[in-house]
Symmetry: C3
Subunit: 335 residues, 3 copies
């Protein structure tokens, strides 16, 4: 009954109609996202930052898990596409009055909503909604459990492409709490599809899932070894709020072994770039001298994040509409 | 001192300038609301769902009683009329700092607000504001105590008209907690004004107010009897949050006697439609097989709800402005 | 290292690029703000209240201290300039996840924000942000600690000018809790720069700071004496939430000595106007007969407040952009 997400998110002719995961997407499609995002960086540098691509469309922010930062970036992206936005405080909504989640979603669909931006603590939530609940609403995954965070991964790809010219051939290290990171999974899929030479995942044994190498990454327990010859160093946020106890000795112990310092960064290539999805914990994952230093592109990631979200929203809306038009025509032809 | 609400909400030449209640409104005016709403259903089915009728107007959502669902539908309606919306969290506002409610409203009026959408736990609150506090702001009643919920009633009328062609001649049963229902009162007034053949109110004696027949409805204690020959069955939500104890034996007992099941629905006309204002309590007021079945028009109600709210907002704003222009001219003429 | 705020908020050629304080601003610039605000009063009285001056700009409401009233007026002002607004609930944001405040602000800047409206419990917060954190974002001070509340002061100036024709030559009394009032400080600077004949500050010794006369105001402990020959009486709000204990005997005692009544108001000039920044505490600072009486212009203040905020936002945005263009050109010329 469950469809492969890479299929579910595409129209019959291979265009995006949802954006659920980077897994299974072709290099061509991922590149189209990056190219579209590039064009939106230019529009945001103009005096009037808006384009009318989603004018008159209704985008609903469905954040089951609170994240002011991510919600704000989606809200700004939708605004700059001229969409109308409904921020739904799901904790105070009808679901709280005993209505089922599916009824809530069907109601929102009946209000002529065009797109749901979904963040949920359960892996697979966005996929489930796109497949089982409201397949005619474009679903954008803004993070589901430990599974995926595809817009974050794509803004990271855009950052690498803009600062290293291309993704092909790069050696990339992803450092920290891989176990709880939906970002890392989405990054690995995208990096390999886009031709990265090598993806290294680095962390203590307790935070490195056994099966991670099956995705095509290489596991390292020693940061110093992992940094050798790296072009790109991606530091992850310690997901303290999602961490069960005893997985981590202490923050200062973690920093000593896996925190990025100027000294350690010197082991990577001299022109290596340093990334972090934010919000950063200074002195835990990363030293301030590195976070604010010349090799850091952390704030550039934030800027590119809006452009990437604009890109996937515009592409998914366009694909979703084409798909609905087609369904309408084939129904009419059959009658 | 208190004006008849049906007069208060109309201009000198009989146009809507507030929307407080369906009581006392003429068949012609109620029909005008439905016709206007019909036109907004079409605009919402277009690629760009917006019309510029309220461009540059400020609509303030004043929800003294929390209701995410209803607030969202008004917010979407205002957005699709191109209004600017201010959502006021009244619990955190200046009223909390010791300011009187009237001062808060006068302040909002002084900010050049054009319309207040008011929801309040006290019967008569919207009426009081329209008459005593801010008569030059168009007031839309989004539910006041047990008194009225006129936009809900009008979306129900639109649903009946679109699915049964006309309201004239229909036999309508309203089932459940009539006592606490502002919706039922507003429905009875609108149904009778629009020519329904018979309105039946159905529920246990504890939830059927003694005076309900004075409105023109017929009381039934037996659902099976009440459903006979019905064209339209409207199930109400059990207002558990507003219910004092001991009015209800138990939810399962209630469902056994008054819950709508496939078997019971078979007692109504074969083409009867089933409605519910939502959010629904599955297995309490209604069986899932009925709620999701072919005779249910529950999700259509939600869609029509946006169109009806657009209609009364556009009509009231237009009437309010005409009324202010006229007052201005008569003042000038008198000088 | 710290720049004089009056310099910091101006471009090289003396135009506004932030709005942090009225202190140190020239009569010409203050008058330009009032003239610009006057023009926005007219636009708000039109059927469509909006002008496209900030179209495509992103304004972020950064309220570290909650104030629904003030936030609403800034939100309406930005909306009527056609800006896009992001309301950041700073208590729930990334700062709460351990991110530093500076990282939060840098992130917002990286999202191509154009303007921050800042309210903060610490004196100097807006100044610090404008100087040290995000100098290329236009900062509007919406109240910082006990220091300044310059938009409130300017709306008071506009009120005086519109109701007394000019500020030059007026005798103004500011009455109540001067000690905790950022409003009073901003008013004194603006009044003296704009040519008021005399500014009297009136209150109990415990609420009159010793150094207030150094600003150019005259201290009075007796309200009856202070009101003699006054053209303008400004009542301040008792900042109960900011007051340490023992500064105030009791509210009724305060009202007896410093509350404005019809009798006391008769001591001022017969055409004196009465002002209050709101929200008012009826029967504490002011008697209802005065607040609602013919000499009160309290609700006019609210109306002018939107226009003044539109004026400083439009002027600061324009100056900020000119300043950035210039910096760009001089960098290019140097290369």
């Amino acid at each position: 009954m469950t469809t492969d997400p890479s299929q579910l998110q595409l129209t019959a002719d291979g265009r995006l109609k949802h954006f659920l995961t980077t897994e299974g997407l072709s290099k061509a499609l991922l590149t189209e996202i990056l190219d579209t995002a590039d064009s939106f960086i230019s529009t945001q540098e103009r005096a009037v930052k808006k384009v009318p691509l989603l004018r008159g469309k209704t985008v609903v922010n469905l954040f089951f898990e609170n994240s002011t930062r991510t919600r704000s970036t989606f809200e700004l992206a939708a605004t700059r596409l001229s969409a109308d936005i409904l921020n739904l405080d799901i904790q105070r909504s009808a679901t709280a009055k005993g209505e089922t989640l599916m009824d809530t979603l069907w109601n929102l669909e009946a209000m002529y909503s065009d797109m749901f931006v979904v963040r949920h603590a359960d892996s697979g939530a966005a996929h489930f909604i796109a497949e089982q609940v409201t397949p005619n609403v474009a679903i954008i995954n803004a993070g589901d459990g430990r599974h995926a965070h595809p817009t974050q991964a794509m803004l990271d790809m855009l950052t690498i492409r803009r600062h290293k010219q291309q993704i092909e051939g790069q050696i990339v290290a992803i450092v920290g709490d891989i176990l709880h990171s939906r970002v890392a999974r989405s990054q690995i899929h995208a990096l390999l599809a886009l031709g990265a030479a090598e993806v290294r995942v680095v962390g203590p044994a307790t935070l490195l899932p056994k099966d991670i190498e099956s995705l095509g990454a290489k596991a390292y327990y020693d940061l110093n070894l992992a940094l050798r010859d790296c072009d790109v160093v991606i530091m992850l946020r310690l997901q303290k709020e999602r961490m069960q106890n005893a997985l981590l000795p202490s923050e200062s112990e973690f920093f000593k072994l896996y925190g990025l310092t100027t000294d350690k960064l010197a082991l990577a290539k001299p022109d290596a770039i340093v990334m972090h999805p934010g919000p950063i914990n200074r002195g835990v994952e990363i030293e301030s001298a590195v976070a604010d230093g010349p090799q850091s592109v952390i704030l550039n990631q934030v800027s590119y994040g809006i452009a990437v979200r604009m890109a996937v929203m515009a592409m998914a809306m366009s694909g979703q509409q084409a798909s609905q038009q087609e369904a309408l025509h084939s129904t009419e032809a059959a009658e």
